[in-house]
């Protein structure tokens, strides 16, 4: 119990501190962005330092869902089901935030909130897959069966994570690629220590935020299990 309350306090505090630092770095530490021909870029680019860490965090969340689903099916221990349902719910929020921050940025740079191209479509599909996962959980009443079927879906759904990640590398896409090479030859572009440091701090901040949200959610779910157990023992 002391262990739980310890991580329950330190983790959120750490997340809050890093998040403040990360936001501060975005607004005060980052130099002005220069385009290829030397012109100063619109500061709407700064939303990228939220957008990409959130995207990475949502991939991480769905990886957690996948791993704990496999572990549940193998071991049959209920705690893994709690992990996967907590990570899935938080992951859905992050997947939605990816779409929202991306749309805001797209409006500023492309002039439209949304265009239909592979990266955006697969990101939307990723969000929908895990919304469907939550719907599936609601549609089954028996806890045992719910955990089992949801685990199967969590494994199957994970197959669409790599496609969303790879889509800008596979197809010619309007979505900018910041690291690595695209199939069509363009790519890269984020250079300079201060930029990469800001990005790194932001990634760490969002992962800590994710971890503390999941730990809260798991605590809630465990309490709910306890309540259910008590209630059924009263009958």
């Amino acid at each position: 119990m002391s262990d739980r309350s310890l991580t329950g306090k330190i983790l959120p505090l750490l997340a809050a501190a890093t998040m403040l630092l990360a936001i501060g770095m975005i607004f005060f530490y980052l130099p002005e962005m220069k385009g290829e021909s030397g012109e100063v870029l619109d500061s709407s680019f700064r939303i990228f330092y939220f957008h990409m860490p959130i995207a990475i965090t949502s991939y991480l969340a769905f990886t957690v869902v996948f791993i704990s689903s496999v572990l549940y099916l193998r071991k049959g221990e209920y705690k893994w089901d709690i992990v996967s349902r907590s990570a899935a719910e938080v992951g859905v929020i992050f997947a939605l935030l990816v779409l929202i921050t991306g749309s805001i940025w797209a409006k500023a740079t492309w002039g439209w909130y949304w265009i239909w191209e592979p990266r955006l479509t697969t990101s939307l599909a990723l969000f929908l897959v895990y919304v469907a996962y939550l719907l599936l959980r609601q549609a089954v009443d028996v806890p045992d069966k719910r955990a089992r079927l949801a685990s199967v879906f969590g494994i199957l759904g994970f197959v669409s994570v790599p496609l969303s990640f790879l889509s800008i590398r596979l197809w010619r896409s309007a979505h900018p690629l910041m690291f690595g090479e695209a199939a069509s030859g363009s790519g890269g572009g984020l250079e300079g220590a201060s930029l990469q440091l800001t990005l790194l701090v932001n990634i760490v901040a969002f992962i800590l935020l994710f971890a503390s949200m999941v730990s809260y959610k798991m605590g809630n779910e465990m309490l709910e299990e306890e309540v259910n157990e008590l209630r059924s023992s009263l009958k």
Partner: protein, 224 residues
């Protein structure tokens, strides 16, 4: 292997006895085409426009017809404890899945073989070759059915199965549908194998991945 075919043959025999499912799938996919012709009415005059929307319309028809077929695939087994009977068969659980999937693939291919010629006639549409579009559509269908059969077994246990199946199925099969629609469009307008090799590879990879994953987890779906 023989056992898999036995299970598929059982399903198909049952289906051909009444042809209930097959008839409604074919009619439904034709209805989708009719609705399409109504909603796109004025722009269908030129063959260029038809060429542009054809792969999309065909796939919408296949997917909708396929979803109805899949939603019945395991519901039929609920009657008279057929699923229990199947599970008692001296075959592995994965063989049950594969047999079911084979039967569903056959049904969907029949629907497609009927739908495509009718589409071609109704819209005065020229197909540039038979083999390549056939290959693309077959690969897309296999991927769709591989996921769909597993989810059909999965949703049979839930409260709102008929509604839940398409909601779960469509986002999951998107990795199959995107390359399938892209490649069908190019293949129908006469592209060569090399032009769509990337889409074909992606389709093949997802077919194999979905099939293998479904084989592995099917056991957990029907255990009770």
């Amino acid at each position: 292997m023989i056992r898999i075919l036995d299970i598929a043959a059982k399903d198909l025999k049952e289906e051909f006895r009444t042809k209930q499912m097959l008839n409604s799938m074919v009619i439904f996919s034709l209805l989708v085409i009719v609705i399409f012709s109504i909603s796109f009415g004025p722009i269908l005059g030129s063959s260029e426009n038809v060429e542009m929307v054809a792969p999309g319309v065909l796939w919408i028809a296949f997917i909708f017809a396929g979803s109805i077929g899949l939603s019945r695939s395991f519901v039929a087994e609920l009657e008279n404890g057929c699923l229990e009977g199947l599970k008692l068969c001296p075959v592995s659980r994965a063989a049950i899945y594969t047999g079911k999937a084979v039967a569903n693939i056959v049904l969907m291919l029949i629907v497609e073989i009927i739908t495509i010629p009718i589409f071609v006639i109704l819209f005065n549409y020229n197909i540039g070759g038979l083999f390549l579009p056939g290959l693309v559509i077959a690969l897309g269908t296999i991927g769709f059915v591989c996921v769909g059969t597993l989810l059909s077994a999965l949703t049979v246990n839930t409260r709102t199965r008929e509604i839940l199946l398409p909601v779960l199925l469509l986002p999951l099969v998107l990795p199959v549908l995107i390359p399938a629609v892209m490649a069908t469009g190019s293949a129908l307008s006469g592209a060569s194998m090399g032009d769509i090799s990337q889409e074909l590879r992606l389709l093949l990879v997802y077919d194999v991945v979905f099939f293998l994953v479904a084989q592995l987890v099917f056991e957990y779906v029907i255990q009770d």
